[in-house]
């Protein structure tokens, strides 16, 4: 299995760069994520039967597979939101096994950005406040710097004029753009995306995907995306296919 750099370069983004002291972006080619022999069982059903995976800095790997193949479960375990029964997951060298809840939360805050399929914004908060949520408990930068970073990201996703809009007043595509900005606000090492375009129409989905790839590349973030869409997977440097809890196929 081999990772390849994010390929799409169509959009040029003027990044404000990683936040000083925030998530430490790995150097190009450095291993950001390592998954070894991960197994997971729900009751009598073995969902993951020993999965190995690596993701390098700035690389894009797509995970494909039918429903129930274990790809979302794998993503949850990598995010530290599920615990594996066996095996090891390391994010930027930090082993997740045995980590207590608060340490796991801190690691997610610093090193892992997540974009979900469903709209995942807090309905009571504005777009800007939603992007700022992951920075609430980080002390690496002053609140003013966080705020500026969030504004820059929202401008980069084309929502610079909708900073104070609530989710209900944004379209589905716009909400997903806010979610992407939120996932990147702490300059994570890896970005996990679980069917991020699944709820969007084709055009909007393509636009959001492009944005995700561009920002991931610009920020040097490794991108691991679960998708059913072959067109999306075609943009990835590496595609792995899962079946019955195992990676059965991986190609660049």
């Amino acid at each position: 299995m081999k990772e390849s750099p994010i390929m799409d370069t169509a959009v040029q983004i003027s990044s404000s760069g990683a936040l000083p002291g925030a998530g430490v972006a790995p150097a190009a080619g450095q291993q950001a994520l390592r998954v070894e022999g991960v197994k997971k069982r729900y009751g009598d059903v073995e969902i993951l039967k020993g999965v190995d995976l690596t993701l390098g800095a700035g690389q894009f790997t797509a995970i494909m597979g039918k429903s129930g193949s274990g790809k979302s479960t794998l993503l949850g375990i990598i995010a530290g939101l599920e615990r594996s029964d066996e095996g090891q997951v390391s994010v930027m060298g930090h082993k997740l096994a045995g980590m207590i809840d608060s340490d796991m939360a801190a690691l997610r805050r610093r090193s892992i950005g997540i974009v979900f399929q469903g709209f995942s914004l807090i309905p009571s908060l504005t777009a800007l406040d939603n992007v700022l949520l992951p920075t609430f408990f980080t002390t690496e930068a002053a609140p003013g710097e966080h705020r500026q970073r969030a504004i820059d990201l929202l401008q980069q996703v084309g929502l610079g004029k909708r900073l104070n809009y609530r989710p209900a007043t944004l379209s589905g595509g716009e909400q997903q753009r806010v979610a992407i900005a939120r996932a990147l606000v702490n300059s994570p090492s890896i970005l996990l995306a679980d069917e991020p375009t699944g709820n969007l129409d084709q055009e909007t989905g393509a636009s959001v995907l492009k944005l995700l790839l561009d920002l991931g590349r610009t920020h040097g973030t490794g991108l691991l995306m679960v998708t059913h869409d072959p067109d999306v997977a075609a943009r990835a440097g590496n595609v792995v296919e899962m079946k019955d809890g195992r990676i059965i196929h991986g190609h660049a």
């Binding site: 129930g68 997610r108 997540i114 009571s124 949520l133 408990f137 679980d194």
Partner: protein, 414 residues
């Protein structure tokens, strides 16, 4: 920032926020008003006793004299022997004791109440401070003081003489005892020794009691309030079944029909309301957390720990508690101001009326309508504030301690 988020959340869910804050406000309001009523009511219970200027009034029920003429002891003012008085004086908790002789002087065309009393704050010294004309009398004087109402009604003035029993006494002064309070009301006041001498010589007294020159038929006791209950119990035992021991406690007992307003009952009702409010806050918190499970899962996914989420929910609940408490306190101030005072009509458990029983208005004289101002208790306000905050905190702790679903199960695409 957490408070900014909390404020946004509370405004966003303004319906639930309003209902929760209002329920807290109503609980605080109820607790404040009930305890205010109870406190004022308890204060009102003390008023009749304080009017007499004592904490405990000791009397003894007696018999009806063979003839209603001359000096007689009212029915509830029978002989209290000197020995009993000294035993009362020796009870721990008794601060001071004033002996008195209370009589009616019945003539064919008139009657008057006569009080012979020792020199004390509630006796001759107290009377001296209420002089409106003439001069005070001493324990050794052979003169009397008249109540201003009685003197006015009978056109008697300082320097005149007045007949009490078979003897005449010069009027040394006029006092306004009725309006200034803290004294037993009578028409004629005289030194204790004179009254004892008159009573021991009076045929209708002698017909019933072996009243000696050192005896009394009324004892006013000042008590250390912390030991009131013990003192009352001891005095009651000393005076026996015919004794009438009046105090704040007997007043409370006499008013048991309206006990719901008493301090303890007020607190119980306030506590019950508090329990209901706590249950409501807990329920509202639980519902809110249940509805926001996905939101909380998202927060966990973006790096919030469960402790951070707890702080967030706590901030929201505290904001509601503070808002509800402030509104409740404000409403309580307005309600107490609007109610103004409590008014209680008390059937006095003793008879120190200047009107004998057989006169029709005696029934009126034996009741007293007391008004006591309502006021907000800052201690209660503090307890209500602390209570609502504690309730809010406990509600969050209880709800967050419940098993929560795995966050990823709420977020995953399949």
């Amino acid at each position: 920032m957490t408070f900014h988020y909390a404020a946004s959340e509370l405004v966003f869910r303004r319906g639930r926020s309003l209902v929760t804050a209002v329920s807290i406000a109503l609980a605080v309001l109820a607790a404040m008003v009930l305890t205010s009523l109870a406190t004022s009511y308890a204060r009102a219970l003390r008023v009749p006793i304080e009017t007499v200027g004592a904490d405990v009034i000791v009397q003894q029920q007696g018999d009806i004299p063979p003839k209603l003429e001359g000096l007689v002891f009212p029915h509830p003012n029978a002989l209290i022997p000197a020995g009993i008085v000294e035993q009362i004086r020796a009870i721990p908790g008794v601060i001071g004791l004033t002996r008195a002789v209370y009589m009616w002087d019945l003539e064919s065309d008139r009657y008057e109440s006569v009080l012979g009393i020792e020199d004390s704050e509630v006796g001759l010294s107290g009377l001296a401070q209420r002089l409106t004309d003439g001069k005070a009398i001493l324990a050794t004087s052979r003169a009397v003081l008249l109540d201003s109402d009685f003197a006015g009604k009978n056109h008697v003035k300082v320097g005149d003489t007045i007949k009490v029993g078979e003897e005449s006494f010069p009027v040394a002064g006029i006092v306004d005892a009725a309006r200034s309070g803290k004294l037993v009301r009578a028409d004629v006041y005289m030194p204790m020794a004179l009254a004892q001498a008159l009573a021991s010589a009076a045929p209708q007294v002698k017909a019933l009691y072996p009243f000696g020159p050192a005896d009394a038929n009324l004892v006013l006791v000042k008590v250390n309030r912390e030991r009131l209950q013990d003192v009352v119990a001891t005095v009651t035992r000393l005076v026996g079944t015919k004794g009438v021991v009046s105090s704040e406690l007997s007043m409370r007992h006499a008013l048991s029909g309206v006990l719901f307003l008493s301090q303890s009952m007020g607190l119980i009702i306030a506590a019950i309301i508090g329990v209901f409010a706590a249950a409501f806050v807990w329920r509202a918190t639980a519902t809110s957390v249940a509805e926001r499970r996905r939101e909380m899962a998202i927060l966990q996914a973006i790096g919030w720990s469960w402790r951070h989420i707890g702080q967030q929910v706590l901030a929201e609940n505290l904001a509601l508690a503070v808002a509800g408490t402030v509104v409740g306190l404000a409403l309580a101030f307005v309600a107490v101001l609007a109610l103004g005072h409590v008014s209680v009509t008390v059937d006095l458990p003793w008879d120190l009326s200047s009107t004998p029983h057989f006169i029709p208005q005696a029934a009126i004289d034996r009741t007293q309508t007391i008004t006591a101002p309502l006021s907000v208790s800052w201690i209660t306000a503090g307890i209500a504030t602390a209570g609502s905050i504690v309730i809010s905190v406990l509600a969050v702790l209880a709800v967050l301690a419940l098993p929560q679903p795995q966050p990823w199960s709420l977020l995953r695409s399949e």
